[in-house]
Symmetry: C2
Subunit: 309 residues, 2 copies
């Protein structure tokens, strides 16, 4: 089990895309800039999708142009197609996060493509990126189950990874888009993937829809995974996946690992300070728990009855 | 790792004790009766404490007298002292759950006794129970940390268990009273305890204060623990432990294990049906997530855009 893990903060993309209200470009930039100073390894800054599909992220280019890049942070852009890839490359993304689904119905609902159609489109995106200093990651949505199709066999996910790695892709994210995964399933799939592709940069992306977020993260870590997506405050959700709710919460994940003695590279106090700004930013309470309860090391004053003894 | 786990439902005690409003005796009885039909192994029905200290459970005797006992369920009463034990025995409890703290300050705040004073009092309670067909469990609060004193060394908990087992006590609950435990700590302590006392009926009791509830349960299960306390809806908290919030949620815990293929003995649908009555019972929303999201196996209809293809 790795004693150092790496966090990709996805709140600016996965978090803000689903919010009821548009977060201003200036506020998005301020959020990314604040996150850049917390020690996270990567920030998924935005998504170069159709503004019609995801109006909240219509300002993707302005956000990437306005943010201040920190040398220790990789800035990632989600891209669903060639047009998105061109825009993300023009914006200077350090990494393109290609997205596809493991299940037919979610693929069709989210991207209007089956997994096999997505795989046919990816080489054209890779061609656009060739010769540029940009890392390519592929996110496999509904890798642990689909809200429409139900169970997604591990063999299908393995088959998809086989094809992705054959294209030269070295980064894969297994995404539990609607929080259907359980720890036994996460452990089995992650072990199988890392067993077959030990050099793969494998990331786990989970949602906390059914309360298993941190348990699934723990199971993946035990299976050898050291890269995790998480969203500040537990924001997040997929507009094209009914029942989706927030991502696993970054500060709660960082807190758990730090308490376990595992280095996350993140300054938890700095992260909590940014988290405290979220309710004002999005206009509602957010699910994160450590920001409310304080760290496990928090001490309370003795009650009067004890002090008086 | 055990393929069958046993659930003690603690909402009627740990859940209702902290609620702002008094739940009527009839409603408590109805809750216990409904829980009795779900397949949980034990129900902590009430606490025989001073009505001044815990006014919400002042009707402990009436509750125990009014509920309908199910032959497959053990009905447990929490008892802080001899007076409580006498009342619990008179009420026909199947099990007395003696309570003490691992830390001095929480012991003084909650029970007006240090751990060592509690240990001196226990033999008198055991004398009362001798010759009766009643199981004795001892719950060790703040076993993973104290909100006043901070870190609680594992050696102190081991020392306490040594003394409890020397008295003939065969059931011990390790309680993370204010959700300070992390999975590495839970694994280490549970492994040590089960290594030393393989025959011990060891129960893990965790609160989800910092989001680690199910991760801690998973870690304990991996360490060989098969008995878990949990509260329906994630109710719960200790009035004498600042920062305490809800117990790990029973239906979320059952759902996780059932999804993992581990038998809980519980009918999850029946449990979810009882959980749906909670907001009306306590007058507010509760933290449980599966009751809102549905099981992982929940399916949604295909969106029109996909159906129209």
């Amino acid at each position: 089990m790795h004693q150092r893990i790496y966090i990709q903060e996805v709140a600016p993309r996965d978090g803000l895309q689903i919010e009821a209200r548009f977060v201003s470009t200036a506020d998005k930039i301020a959020l990314i800039d604040a996150l850049s100073r917390t020690g996270v390894a990567k920030i998924e800054a935005t998504s170069f999708t159709s503004p019609k599909a995801i109006p909240n992220l219509a300002d993707a280019g302005e956000v990437m142009a306005g943010m201040t890049r920190h040398k220790h942070v990789d800035y990632v852009a989600l891209v669903p197609n060639e047009r998105g890839a061109e825009r993300a490359l023009a914006a200077g993304a350090d990494e393109l996060n290609l997205v596809m689904s493991a299940s037919d119905s979610h693929g069709l609902a989210n991207l209007r493509m089956t997994p096999w159609q997505s795989l046919e489109r990816f080489p054209a995106i890779l061609d656009l990126a060739r010769g540029r200093n940009v890392f390519i990651n592929a996110s496999i949505s509904t890798a642990f189950g689909c809200p429409f199709d139900g169970e997604v066999p591990a063999s299908r996910v393995i088959d998809i990874i086989e094809r992705l790695t054959a294209m030269g892709i070295r980064g894969i994210s297994l995404c539990d888009t609607t929080g259907m995964a359980n720890p036994a399933q996460v452990r089995t799939l992650c072990k199988e993937v890392l067993g077959r592709w030990p050099e793969l940069m494998l990331t786990l992306h989970v949602h906390n829809t059914r309360g298993m977020g941190l348990a699934n993260v723990l199971a993946a870590w035990q299976a050898g995974v050291s890269r995790f997506d998480a969203a500040l405050g537990g924001l997040g959700g997929c507009p094209f996946a009914p029942g989706a709710s927030g991502n696993v919460c970054t500060e709660d994940l960082v807190h758990m690992f730090e308490e376990m003695g595992v280095d996350t590279g993140v300054d938890l106090d700095a992260l909590l300070a940014v988290s405290r700004t979220l309710p004002d930013l999005v206009g509602h309470d957010v699910p994160g728990q450590v920001v409310k309860a304080g760290r496990s090391s928090r001490r309370y004053p003795l009650p009067e009855s004890v002090r008086a003894r």
